[in-house]
């Protein structure tokens, strides 16, 4: 998951250069058989939150203040180890000097849900 920042939350869309660099990276992932899915998200002003408390739902419209806690996009990778995914993540194209923050999380497989 690539995290949001002031740029993505400000509704800045990627440049043609960014999109082309990302296209090349994604193509490498596809060739390696790693990429299962990938999506970018629009800024949180186009979204909402629903908070449940004791069965009651409260709707909160975006935007949400804490840009760094938000997700700006994600890839779904099929790899053998955490080390392998880290190596792929290190190759995500960075076209500016700004810091990009990426979080890696393991997905549950059906067999993980076997209950005692």
């Amino acid at each position: 998951m690539i995290k949001s920042d002031e740029r993505t939350e400000g509704g800045a869309t990627p440049t043609a250069e960014d999109l082309e660099a990302m296209g090349r990276y994604n193509e490498e992932l596809v060739k390696a058989g790693v990429l299962l899915a990938g999506e970018g998200l629009l800024d949180s002003s186009k979204g909402a939150r629903v908070r449940f408390k004791n069965g009651a739902a409260t709707v909160i419209d975006g935007p949400f203040a804490e840009a760094k806690e938000l997700v700006a996009g994600f890839w779904l990778f099929d790899v053998k180890s955490k080390e392998e995914v880290i190596e792929w993540v290190k190759r995500i194209p960075c076209t500016t000097d700004e810091v990009s923050r990426v979080e890696i999380r393991q997905v549950f497989e059906a067999e993980d849900f076997v209950i005692g």
Binding site: M1, T13, P14, A16, L19, E20, G23, N26, E27, V30, L35, L36, A37, G38, E39, G40, L41, L42, S44, K46, G47, A48, R49, V50, R51, F52, K53, N54, G55, A57, V59, F64, E66, E69, L70, V71, G73, K82, I86, V89, K90, I92, C94, T95, T96, D97, E98, V99, S100, R101, V102, E103, I104, R105, Q106, V107, F108, D112, F113, I115
Partner: protein
């Protein structure tokens, strides 16, 4: 339009507490209805962040930090990808989230489509995106 439906983490999910059989049943029924209605495209649950890592990247530096990460409420415990007509429709469907899941927070975020990139979506970018979609769609079908 597509939306990402994000189930936020909490102390329980971060502690690795597995969902009860009751919750799994309820979530299974909820998802089945969404699939029948043509809404749900995909969905994943995530392991606690202790199994993950964070990477900070610049052009020249790559810094890796292993999980776990402290702020459970900022983390994600799972997500679904939905196709619906509007944000309002997504909100209505989220309101039907299984009550067995307790006091949870669900975030709804619009997925970017190629049209959202305006002039930056050059013919090359569009072609790349279409090729990629064809491949990832076929992979999703196999999974």
């Amino acid at each position: 339009m597509r939306f990402m439906i994000i189930r936020k983490a909490d102390e329980q999910t971060e502690a690795g507490v597995m969902p009860s059989a009751e919750l799994l049943d309820a979530m299974g029924r909820y998802n089945e209805e969404l699939i029948k209605a043509g809404v749900m495209l995909d969905g994943m649950g995530l392991h606690p962040s202790e199994r993950g890592a964070r990477v900070e990247l610049t052009r020249t530096t790559k810094t890796v930090t292993d999980g776990p990460f402290a702020e459970a409420k900022e983390l994600i415990a799972g997500y679904s990808l939905w196709e619906v007509d509007s944000l309002e429709h997504a909100i209505e469907l989220v309101k039907g989230w299984p009550p067995e899941d307790g006091d949870v927070e669900i975030e709804i975020r619009r997925v970017a489509e190629i049209e959202d990139f305006g002039d930056a979506a050059t013919p090359q970018v569009r072609e790349d995106a279409e090729k990629l979609r064809a491949i990832t769609d076929s992979k999703a079908g196999q999974a």
